[in-house]
Symmetry: C2
Subunit: 134 residues, 2 copies
């Protein structure tokens, strides 16, 4: 697999506005985009830092995966997303090597990316996303 960089780090928050204010006013980062991803029932806020991004995620419904995560573990880092140059090949290779996939094929994520998740049971507890620019 040819992973080029960490595309983003997903962070589950209860309140998007308060969390954005923390990252802007305390850490000095700048929120450059807010986007709703309807099929994941989340609203996201993005910050660039180095060659990576932070993605804050707030649930837009009680049945959102983010709502369930916060209920179980509290606010905090939710997932780690790696950039790959060929998502279909990466998924095939990962699956062949015995890793459990959450998404069998790429689907649309925030920022126009094609994305797929690996199951944390196969990845030593880290909810892992692979993503590719369109």
């Amino acid at each position: 697999m040819n992973l080029t960089h960490i595309e983003h780090i997903g962070i589950a928050v209860r309140n998007l506005e308060e969390s954005i204010a923390y990252y802007e006013n305390i850490l000095g980062l700048k929120c450059y985009a807010i986007e709703e991803v309807a099929d994941q029932q989340v609203k996201t806020a993005f910050f660039r830092i180095g060659d990576c991004k932070l993605e804050l995620l707030v649930a837009t419904s009680d049945t959102s995966p983010i709502a369930k995560f916060i209920e179980k573990k509290g606010e905090g880092i939710h997932h780690l997303a790696f950039a790959t140059q060929n998502l279909v090949e990466s998924l095939a290779e990962t699956s062949q090597k015995g890793i459990q996939l959450i998404d069998q094929k790429p689907r649309a994520g925030a920022e126009g990316l094609q994305i797929a998740f690996l199951h944390p049971k196969s990845t030593f507890g880290v909810l892992t996303e692979l993503c590719q620019k369109p």
Copy 2:
């Protein structure tokens, strides 16, 4: 605050060898260093990706912060470390703005870095490390 990039992402694991094998054989990254940090009761393994690193952390005793984290939350992403150009100034600024510090002043971390942690109660659940090259 002038954060330049994400220095590393800390990941708590139960078994360092098995976890290294996953990151090498499945994700194709290369472990370039293993280091014990005695005062934190951890052994660490490092991987470079883009301008960032992954730091796997395994407890070397039952009283290690990593052992406690895994007992409470399971294996997974433990902390997020930002690179700052002036750690003392960054800590002073952060504290002045009302953020609770775990480390009031810099201390020695892995890889010769000067490091300090912010308390996750002040940072929306993300255990946050600031670090500076010596």
